[in-house]
Symmetry: C2
Subunit: 337 residues, 2 copies
DNA sequence: TTGTATGCGTTATCAC
DNA sequence: GTGATAACGCATACAA
């Protein structure tokens, strides 16, 4: 009887073995390449597998090896972060690295004070390692993961040597940008920045402080606005900065910057004539603004790729650097000229 | 309440059974609740499990049941979409629905013409069902998934009855918004919209066309700009719209809108006095603009929740509606007054 | 109600 | 080089 109908039936190692007159283990070795295997046998198996479009059952492999070939990426769901493109672009990068290594990415969401979803993920052993995409100064997730012993890394900088870190050097970058702006003639450079519970904002603040402390005018607390989260707070900060005679406003990130721009526009201040503006983080939010905004440019997707690859290396038992620093660029635009 | 020290030893059904003088299957039934089980036995098992912090091996369960308890969410990585907050917020919603049902979310990335990552995901059987977060007019991914037989649904609207769809009724929404603007006195309402390869843009265009065709002025092709993707093209479109005497510009989405706003600002046109502006999609990009922008408001996170829950229902064999339509709101703001 | 036996599809450890 | 066979941990049809 001729069978022209392609059989949809899932085919297993057993089937292949039977069909080829071999044993399961031989077929397994032929496919994995591990252990000794005859050249001709291996060729036959590979040919058959290709012809029949054999799909190994990864679940079974997982069970046998106690490995999931999944990476966990933890995203913050706090409302102020939910729309930040950083996390999405990072995720794309991580997916790219994962796919290149035949891993997949499992996404889990946490909020600052509730990491139950993360605990569930670990408890269920659904991933071989975890990436924390944002680091808090007091980070529940990082603290928890350290105790579990599961391989993980954080995107961000910390003085905790127990953490494997991948980050841009925000502190140095912000210091350089701030210094540059001061050297360009801005005497009173204000800072409007988000929550100092976020490690990245602490780094940014430090960079800004280093630069201003070294300047002629020195650091002026009256034009520093930290923990700014709401539109109202930003508006007030801008007003206060102007009142104090700021000639330049540095924004902690892209979201803050676009709201500052809106407020300045509202106040009838033109950029760069009325006031200069720059941002410590770039994104599409700012890219097409008129005038273009001076900002730190970070290759976030690359950050995701590097983080994903590094985590896979950790899982594979390779030694990796405790701290990986990626490059940035200072893009001077018309907003500060 | 004392913190019990996490026991490192992995404990299995066998261990519990031995410890309690029961059999594996009894313990299994006690935990799953399936089949008959004595009340007292069940209580004993549950108590023991709680005390010992037992974590069932989900991989083993997957193998036994041929179920992964994973949802696949397919994200587009095309550069023009990579930073759109829609996908990120949707993903958060999907994760929420998944977590509520003890599922996890596996994210995979595709581009328009390359769905190899999706194929790998399906081939590897890493998920029980799939959500396509954007629908193209000629959608490779949807076509492929139909052939595989795996449960899946699309976020978007299609005339293909074979697709399970979840969407906002963009067509009606855009028609209503356009009609409203016309009725408010805008005689020449221009449209600047993205690729008509995206199903959503086709719907939006149809809504716009329906409304303008029914108006006094009728539909004017000279103020319709489709397939606009680059900043340059947007600038040119805005210029052309103004040249043709447009008194209002409708933007296909938030990204287009923010760039249109930038261009208008550049041209010295004030809103709403010089020209009116509205957008077919809202986001944080627009939320804090000054003046506030009239736009369609969609609860994207809720869309993600509904999509996730619906997919789980499909997987569970429940009958679900072929087409689920979610609500929207027309938010009239100062930009069109 | 509970226990026994078997299957899920691999990988790994041995002999041969 | 190759082939039985035992894990891996759970679910389930069937027997008791």
């Amino acid at each position: 009887m001729k069978e022209n109908i392609p059989t949809k039936k899932k085919i297993s190692l057993d089937d292949i073995a039977r069909e080829l007159g071999l044993s399961k283990s031989t077929v397994s070795r032929a496919l994995s390449g591990k252990g000794r295997i005859g050249a001709e046998t291996s060729a036959r198996v590979h040919q058959y597998v290709k012809d029949m479009d054999y799909a190994p059952n990864l679940i079974a492999r997982s069970l046998a090896q106690s490995k999931t070939y999944n990476l966990g990426v933890i995203l913050p769901a706090d409302s102020d972060l939910a729309e930040k493109p950083f996390f999405q672009v990072f995720l794309l990068g991580a997916c790219e690295a994962a796919a290149a290594n035949d891993y997949d990415v499992v996404v889990t969401v946490v909020v600052e004070k509730d990491i139950s979803a993360l605990k569930r993920l670990v408890h269920n052993k659904k991933v071989d390692g975890i990436i924390l995409t944002r680091l808090l100064v007091h980070d529940l997730a990082a603290t928890y993961l350290k105790k579990t012993g599961i391989p993980f890394l954080v995107v961000g900088s910390s003085s905790d040597d127990a953490l494997v870190q991948i980050d841009t050097d925000h502190e140095t970058a912000c210091e350089k940008l701030t210094s540059l702006l001061i050297s360009m003639g801005n005497r009173k450079t204000a800072l409007i920045i988000g929550s100092d519970e976020h490690a990245v904002n602490v780094s940014r603040y430090r960079g800004y402080a280093m630069a201003t402390e070294g300047s002629a005018e020195g650091l002026d607390r009256r034009i520093i606005f930290q923990n700014i989260g709401t539109k109202t707070a930003m508006d007030k900060s801008v007003e206060a900065a102007i009142r104090e005679g700021a000639d330049c406003i540095l924004c902690g990130d892209d979201i803050i910057c676009s709201q500052v721009l809106s407020k300045l526009n509202n106040m009838g201040l033109s950029i760069p004539d009325g006031i200069r503006v720059a941002s410590f983080y770039d994104s599409a939010h700012l890219k097409y603004n008129n005038p273009p905004i001076t900002a730190l440019e970070i290759d976030v997707k690359e950050l995701g790729v590097v983080a994903g690859q590094s985590l896979i290396d950790m899982i594979s038992g390779k030694e990796i650097k405790k701290r990986t620093i990626l490059n940035y660029q200072i893009a001077l635009k018309r907003s500060t000229q």
